[in-house]
């Protein structure tokens, strides 16, 4: 339960899943209603495995998963009622049209809104009269999104949902997700390689590498604390506080700081001059954290 007695949208504890040559976890993770959690990591880091475990498409080796206060048990499917999952495969009937597939979903979800599904299809430019097997990769991604948004689930698991979409449709998708979040009851767990997308939407980012969580950071705090700083300092080898990366050409230095106040204070103590600092994009910060590996845990 969250602080207000409202169930967490997602609670993962002690999740572990192993394959030959790869182990995910163990880790804990939670997500409150009304929040967006971005899941960021390189290919093979364990993002899709985590999503599949949460969606019940993979059984974890250990750990508990609760969705909106309901434990995910294989025999009882009620915990899936309020879950929408966009993953690598949708399982749609390839020889049926997109419209026929959406009709099928409507017959299984009590909360399905035909008007909403048609509206979303129009906004995304998804043709309803074309067979799924004839859809482009982008249109298949649109179908997956309409399929999960049509019954208005309170928890959305979106694993690379905008892969293959052009920038205009990506922007429309993000707009729709903003609308979904408006009532404060919905939560989104979102993984993507397009960090510029998630940085606009996510309240927090969780970084994962090689199956291990590297850290969890609020996007606003990241934007405030990370800075690229250039300065001049005659001192040779020295370790500057709060620095993730340091480059030096003679007396000219460039550092990437994950704690700009600490770094600037230390530079002042060292007597650095011509200090200039510029903000970094969330994408640049994410790359630094993922490159930094274990360092990011202390960031």
């Amino acid at each position: 339960m969250s602080n207000g007695g409202i169930p967490l949208a997602l609670r993962i504890s002690g999740l572990t899943k192993s394959f030959p040559g790869f182990q995910l976890g163990p880790f804990d993770l939670d997500l409150e209603p009304g929040r967006v959690l971005g899941f960021v990591g390189p290919n093979g880091a364990g993002k899709t495995t985590t999503f599949n475990c949460v969606a019940g498409l993979l059984r974890p080796d250990a750990g508990d998963i609760e969705l909106l206060g309901r434990p995910s048990t294989p025999g009882d499917a009620r915990w899936r009622d309020d879950l929408g999952h966009v993953g690598e495969v949708g399982g749609f009937y390839a020889d049926w049209t997109t419209g026929r597939n959406l009709d099928l979903l409507a017959s299984f979800h009590a909360a399905w809104s035909r008007r909403r599904a048609i509206d979303l299809a129009e906004r995304f430019g998804l043709p309803l009269d074309r067979k799924v097997k004839d859809l482009s990769k982008g249109n298949q991604a649109k179908l997956a999104l309409v399929a999960v948004l049509g019954h208005d689930p309170r928890l959305l698991l979106l694993d690379e949902p905008t892969a293959g979409l052009d920038p205009v449709v990506r922007s429309e998708v993000l707009e729709v997700l903003w609308e979904v979040l408006a009532d404060g009851e919905h939560a989104i767990f979102y993984s993507t390689h397009i960090i510029s997308d998630i940085s606009r939407l996510a309240d927090e980012l969780v970084f994962i590498h090689d199956g291990r969580l590297l850290g969890r950071h609020a996007t606003t705090e990241m934007a405030e604390s990370w800075r690229r700083i250039t300065f001049r300092l005659a001192v040779g080898e020295t370790r500057i506080a709060g620095v993730a990366e340091h480059r030096r050409v003679r007396d000219e230095h460039q550092v990437v700081s994950f704690a700009q106040a600490e770094t600037l204070r230390h530079l002042g103590e060292l007597g650095a001059d011509r200090i200039e600092h510029s903000p970094m994009t969330i994408e640049e910060i994410a790359v630094m954290i993922l490159k930094g590996g274990s360092h990011a845990q202390t960031a």
Partner: protein, 215 residues
Amino acid sequence: MLRLLRENLRYHWGLLAVTVAVGMVPAGLVGIVLLTSRAGPQSVVVSLLFSMVVASGVAAFIVIGRDAGEHRPVLHLLLGVPLRAVALSRVLTPVVLQLAGSAAAMALALGAFVVLERERYDRLVAILPFVAAQLLFVGQLVLAAQEILAARRDRRGHLWPAALAALLAALAFFAWVEVFAKTAMGWKTGLVLALAAGLGLGNVALFERRRSFVR
């Protein structure tokens, strides 16, 4: 489960019709060839009815491959349907399709038995269900092979060797029924159907114990 099964049948129905229709062409040609040789006109009826039963079995095999290729369990699981219902619909879809085609062939054979010359068709009425039962068994065998491979991929240590041993035992029993059993065709058909039903139940149980539904 019934809703899933109904949607699956709606999706695959056309495939059964096409497979049976396509199967009629070579069967008709064989019948005509037999007709022009020393065989009687009943050879055309026999070859067409056999082709209906076999085509229904072929359609069932295609359905198994098609559902696996389109990752159907992923969609069905995310519909909020209980796992057992997904497992049952997966096993029953090819069975129902094949039975529908075979039942149509049986009805035609019975018609021929009643309306036409009785002695020419009584053996056909007995052998068509046996052929259909054999194809049902082979269909469940294909699903069982998929489940054993899945269990092996999931590294379910004791489960997949045990399932493989059970499958080999079922195959051995099937071979014994086919080759050595000195019993009436009806009994043989019943034994093979029981074997297919046992495999089907095993397939449901193995599917429910899967650790991955995404491969």
